[in-house]
Amino acid sequence: MQKKIVFTVNGDRVELSVEPNLTLLDLLKGQLGLIGTREGCDSGACGACTVIMDGAPVLSCMTLAVRCHNRNITTIEGLAHDGKLHPLQQSAIDHDAVQCGFCTAGWLLSAKVLLDNNPTPTREQVRTAVAGNLCRCAGYQRIEESILAVAEGRAKVQE
C-alpha cells in the first residue's frame, strides 16, 4: 500500500508515492538519482548514508521514506551552489581530508550541522560530531583539521 509524501530535497519540492518500508537511502539513490549518499552497512553503524533532515543529521538507511513527509532534506548534492563549493567542501580538498571518498559525504553533512549550530567548536566537539562517521583510509586528523579551519575562518569573519 503506497503512501503519498511531499517533501523538499536540496530546495526542490518532491511529491511521490512510496512503499511504507522504503528507506530514505533507497529513495534518494534509487528513485531520485542522488547517488552521493552512500550505503556502507545498512544498519546505522557507519554513517556513510548521513543526510540532513530539518537541520539534524539522520542516518538515511535507518529512516523510512514516509517520515520525510513535509520535511526538508539536504544531501551532499545540495551542499555546493551553482558549482561553488561549500567552505567545508573546499577545506576538505585543501586539507587532503578525502581518500577513497566513500565516507566523505556523511562526515561533511555531520560537520555542516555542527557548524550551523556551533560556529566555533572545539576539537573535541568536532570529534564528537563526526564520531558516527567511520573513515578507514584517512584516519581523522585531516578531517578534523579541515572542519576546524572552516570554523576558525568563519569566526574571524564574525569578529
Binding site: 539513490k29 542522488l34 547517488i35 552521493g36 549518499t37 552512500r38 550505503e39 556502507g40 552497512c41 545498512d42 544498519s43 553503524a45 557507519c46 556513510a48 544531501t75 551532499i76 548534492e77 551542499l79 555546493a80 563549493l85 567542501q89 573546499q90 576538505a92 580538498i93 585543501d94 587532503d96 578525502v98 581518500q99 577513497c100 571518498g101 566513500f102 565516507c103 566523505t104 559525504a105 561533511l108 568536532v126 570529534r127 564528537t128 563526526v130 564520531a131 558516527g132 562517521n133 567511520l134 573513515c135 578507514r136 583510509c137 584517512a138 584516519g139 581523522y140 586528523q141 585531516r142 578531517i143 578534523e144
Partner: protein
C-alpha cells in the same frame, strides 16, 4: 641522484579526484546500472566443513521474478591466484561458514532474497579444524585432499601433499644450531595475532554479463583489472580477448581486500547460467565480514641467541598463517612473511619456516602489510624483551643491528637505498627519546618494520596528447583512495611539461588501458610511476621532433614548459602543443607515448614473487602511551611515524598515507579482532567489530624520509601499504615501558592488561 629542477613532482598538488568526491559526484560500482540488469543474491553455507548431499532449487526457480538459480554443479570451474583451489560456488563440500553455495538472479534484490529462503540444502557435517598449528598436526581433518596436485602459479609455491599446508617457505643462512650454541642468552617467545577485517566503507560489488558466445564482461570495484581478467579467462577457458574487466570510476577503499575474485566470482557463476543479462551483486556488510577475506591470524614462534653485549648470533622463526578455506593470496603472503620474518637486522645464522595453513574459516589474503604486521609484532616485541634483559637501550640496540646500505639481507641480496636507520633516528629525535619526561603510568616504545615488495612484475602506460594539448593517461592502476591518480598525473605533467590541470587519468578498462600487474604492494608509484614517466618522455620526444622544423631548431635544443614547446634558451620562440599538432596534422593530430617498466633481475631469480626485491618498504614508529591501572585501558598519547618514501612525489598525500595507516595499525593494536565460535564469525557488524572512530584515533606525527632509490621515478619508492605495520609493537613496547607488562597476543584489550598487571603484582 642528479639534482633535477622539478616543478610539479615534490609539490603537494591537491588530489585530482577530491572535487568529485566532496560534491557527491564520484561514481562507484553500486551507482552503475546496465540496461536489462538483474540482481543476484548468494546462499551461503552455515557449516564450516560439510559434504553437500543435495540441493533443491526447484521452489526458488518457480518464484515469480526469478530468472535462474545456479549451484556449484553448473559452474565446474576453479580459480585462484597462487594455487588453483577455489570453485566459483562450493562443489561436493563446503569448507567454511559463509561459503557461496547457490546464487539467485531476480528482477530485484527483495525477490532474490526471498528465493534464497526457498532453496533447500542437505549437508553432512565433517570434522573441522580452526587453529593453524593444530591444522598442521598429523590426524588433523584434511580441508583439501588434493593440495599436492593443484595447479600452482609458479614452482616457488610449495604445498605439502597430504597436509593442510598450502605453502611452506624456507630461508636458511649460516648454521643456526651452532649459533645458538655460541650464544650467551637464548630467548624463546610465541606471539599471536587475530583476524583483522579490512572494513572498506564500500563493500564489494560486481556486475557480470556472459553472452551466448561466452563473451564475458565484468564491472567491478576490483583493485587489479588485468589480473582479474587473466584469472577469469583461464578459469572459464576462454581467450583473454573475450574477457573485459571495467573498473568503476571510483573504488571506496581497498587495503588489499578488493583483489582476486570476490563478488566477481559469484556474479560470474550466475551469469554463466543466466546468459545475456547483466547481473549485479552487491555484498552486504555481513558478507563483507564473513565471505571475503581478512588478515591472516598468526602464531609466530621466535627463538633468538645473543651475546652478552647484545650482538645477535642466531634466530629461528616459525610462522603459522591461517589462510582459511582457500589459499587466495596466502602462499605469497606467507612468502613475504618469511622473507622478512627475522626482522631488518644483521643476524648471521637464520632459519625461517613460514607455513600457510588451510583452516575451516573465512579466507585470509592480502591486507595492508601482507605478512608484515604478524612478523613485526613478533620480532619487534622480542627486540625489547632482549634489550630489557641485557639492560640495553631499545633504540641503541636497534641502531647497532639494523641493516644499512651494503649489508647482505637474509635473502642474499646486497642492500641499497636502505633508509630504515634514518627513519629510526628521526623518530627518536622527534619523540625526544632520551630526554622527554613522561608522567606516571606513561611509557614510550619504538618499533621498526621491513617488508618485501612484489617482484618482478610489470606496468605499462600510454600517454595520449590530444588535439588541444591536453593529455589523457591510460593506466590500469586503480584509484582506491591511495592517491595514485594524482601521483600519475603529477609525473606525466612534470615529464611532459604541461600543467597539472591539463592531465587526466582514465579509470581502468582492460579493453583500453594497458597491462598492469596489480594495484597492490605499494608498487604503483614505483612501477606505474616509471611506466608513465617513460610514456610521457616518449610523447615529449615525438612532440619535439614535430616542433623542430616549425621552430627551426634541433629537437635537442627544444623543451616543453607549461604546455608550450620552445627553444630552451629562448622561451619566447614557442608554440603551444595544440599548434605543433595542427601544423603537422591539420585537424586530426595526436601523439601517443608508450612506457613499459619491468625491473631488471639477477640471473636465475624466480619471475613470480622472487626473493630478490626491487625495493623494500621500510619504516619506524614510536609510541607514547598511558595505561590506566584501574580499567586496563591504554590511551595512545602520540604516535611518531617515519617511513622511507625515497622521494615524496606529493608530500601531502604521502604523509596522509602514514596518518591513515597508523590509525589502522592502532585499531589492530588495541581493539580489532574478528571473533569466531568454531567457524562462525561472532561480530560481523560495525556495531560489534570496533573500527577506530574519530574519538579513538591517536595523535600522529608523520614523517617522510627521502632516501632516494636509483631506479625509482625521481627516486621514489612506495610507502602506503606498511604504515600500519610497526604501530602495534611500538605500542606494546611503550606499555612495557609504562607499567612493566608484556602482552604477546593482539589485540591489547583492557582485560589482558588487567590480567597481566595482576600477575605482575602477584610475583
Amino acid at each position: 641522484m642528479p639534482t633535477e629542477q622539478l616543478d610539479i613532482v615534490g609539490t603537494s598538488s591537491i588530489r585530482v579526484d577530491a572535487r568529485d568526491k566532496v560534491m557527491g559526484k564520484a561514481i562507484y560500482i553500486d551507482d552503475i546500472q546496465v540496461p536489462g540488469m538483474l540482481h543476484g543474491k548468494v546462499l551461503r553455507s552455515r557449516y564450516p566443513h560439510a559434504r553437500i548431499v543435495r540441493i533443491d532449487t526447484s521452489r526458488a526457480e518457480k518464484l515469480p521474478g526469478v530468472l535462474g538459480v545456479v549451484t556449484g554443479a553448473d559452474v565446474p570451474f576453479i580459480h585462484g591466484e597462487s594455487l588453483l583451489d577455489e570453485p566459483f560456488l562450493a562443489r561436493d563440500k563446503v569448507r567454511y561458514t559463509g561459503e557461496g553455495v547457490a546464487v539467485v538472479a531476480a528482477v530485484d534484490v527483495a525477490t532474490a532474497e526471498h528465493a534464497l529462503e526457498l532453496i533447500r540444502v542437505e549437508y553432512k557435517e565433517l570434522p573441522a579444524v580452526f587453529d593453524p598449528v593444530e591444522a598442521t598436526e598429523p590426524g588433523a581433518p584434511l580441508i583439501h585432499e588434493n593440495v599436492g596436485t593443484y595447479t600452482r602459479a609458479a614452482s616457488n609455491i610449495k604445498p605439502i601433499p597430504g597436509t593442510n599446508i598450502c605453502n611452506h617457505f624456507q630461508l636458511k643462512t649460516g648454521d643456526v644450531e651452532k649459533g645458538f650454541a655460541e650464544s650467551d642468552y637464548i630467548f624463546e617467545d610465541t606471539f599471536t595475532t587475530p583476524m583483522q577485517a579490512h572494513c572498506c566503507i564500500e563493500t564489494h560489488g560486481a556486475i557480470a554479463l556472459v553472452d551466448d558466445e561466452t563473451n564475458i564482461t565484468v564491472w567491478a570495484n576490483n583493485d587489479s583489472p588485468h589480473r582479474a581478467r587473466k584469472e577469469i579467462a583461464s578459469a572459464f577457458k576462454v581467450p583473454m580477448t573475450k574477457v573485459r574487466v571495467i573498473i568503476a570510476p571510483y573504488v571506496g577503499g581497498n587495503f588489499g581486500g578488493k583483489g582476486g575474485l570476490k563478488a566477481e566470482a559469484v556474479a560470474l557463476a550466475i551469469a554463466w547460467k543466466v546468459r545475456n543479462r547483466p547481473i549485479k551483486i552487491m555484498y552486504t556488510r555481513e558478507e563483507e565480514f564473513c565471505s571475503t577475506i581478512g588478515r591472516h591470524p598468526s602464531v609466530v614462534r621466535m627463538k633468538t641467541g645473543v651475546k652478552q653485549d647484545g650482538t645477535f648470533v642466531a634466530r629461528a622463526v616459525k610462522i603459522y598463517l591461517a589462510t582459511g578455506a582457500y589459499a587466495e593470496k596466502g602462499p605469497t603472503v606467507s612468502t613475504f612473511a618469511g622473507i622478512s620474518g627475522a626482522g631488518p637486522y644483521r643476524i648471521p645464522n637464520l632459519s625461517i619456516d613460514s607455513y600457510c595453513v588451510y583452516t575451516n574459516r573465512q579466507l585470509a589474503g592480502a591486507f595492508r602489510g601482507y605478512g608484515g604486521p604478524q612478523t613485526a609484532w613478533a620480532y619487534e616485541s622480542q627486540m625489547d624483551i632482549i634489550a630489557h634483559k641485557l639492560g640495553l637501550d631499545p633504540v641503541e640496540l636497534r641502531l647497532r643491528q639494523v641493516y644499512v646500505d651494503g649489508d647482505r639481507h637474509a635473502n642474499g641480496q646486497i642492500l641499497k637505498s636502505e633508509g630504515l636507520r634514518d627513519c629510526l633516528v628521526q623518530v627518536a629525535e622527534s619523540m625526544e627519546w632520551n630526554s622527554k619526561p613522561l608522567g606516571k603510568n606513561q611509557g614510550r616504545g619504538v618499533a621498526l618494520m621491513e617488508r618485501a615488495i612484489k617482484t618482478p612484475f610489470g606496468s605499462a602506460a600510454f600517454v595520449k596528447v590530444n588535439e588541444d594539448g591536453t593529455v589523457d593517461v591510460l593506466s590500469s592502476t586503480t584509484e582506491v583512495g591511495q592517491g595514485s591518480a594524482t601521483i600519475v598525473c603529477q609525473i606525466v605533467a612534470e615529464e611532459l611539461g604541461v600543467p597539472m590541470a591539463s592531465v587526466r587519468k582514465a579509470a581502468p578498462d582492460t579493453a583500453f588501458t594497458p597491462y598492469d600487474a596489480s594495484t597492490t604492494s605499494s608498487r604503483s608509484t614505483f612501477h606505474m610511476g616509471n611506466a608513465v614517466k617513460m610514456a610521457a618522455a616518449d610523447a615529449k620526444q615525438q612532440l619535439l621532433a614535430l616542433a623542430s622544423k616549425l621552430l627551426k631548431a634541433s629537437p635537442d635544443d627544444l623543451t616543453i614548459t607549461q604546455g608550450k614547446v620552445h627553444v630552451k634558451a629562448m622561451p619566447e620562440r614557442a608554440l603551444p602543443i595544440s599548434k605543433v599538432l595542427s601544423e603537422n596534422y591539420g585537424a586530426s593530430g595526436t601523439v601517443l607515448g608508450r612506457g613499459y617498466y619491468y625491473p631488471e633481475m639477477p640471473e636465475g631469480e624466480s619471475n613470480y614473487f622472487s626473493r630478490y626485491m626491487v625495493f623494500w618498504l621500510l619504516g619506524a614508529q614510536g609510541a607514547e602511551v598511558e595505561v590506566n591501572r584501574e580499567t586496563g585501558e591504554v590511551k595512545i598519547l602520540k604516535i611518531y611515524a617515519a617511513h622511507d618514501a625515497g622521494k615524496a612525489i606529493n608530500p601531502m598525500t604521502c604523509l596522509d598515507q602514514i596518518r591513515g595507516g597508523v590509525t589502522l595499525g592502532a585499531g589492530f593494536a588495541l581493539s580489532e579482532n574478528l571473533m569466531f565460535k568454531g567457524g562462525t564469525v561472532l561480530n560481523p557488524s560495525f556495531l560489534s567489530y570496533p573500527v577506530p572512530s574519530a574519538l579513538d584515533a591517536p595523535e600522529i606525527e608523520p614523517m617522510a624520509v627521502e632516501y632516494a632509490h636509483p631506479d625509482g621515478p625521481y627516486g621514489a619508492k612506495g610507502i602506503g601499504e606498511t604504515t600500519n605495520v610497526p604501530t602495534p609493537p611500538a605500542i606494546a613496547n611503550a606499555i612495557y615501558n609504562a607499567v612493566g607488562i608484556r602482552i604477546k597476543d593482539l589485540p591489547i584489550t583492557p582485560d589482558k592488561v588487567l590480567a597481566a598487571l595482576k600477575r605482575k603484582d602477584e610475583r
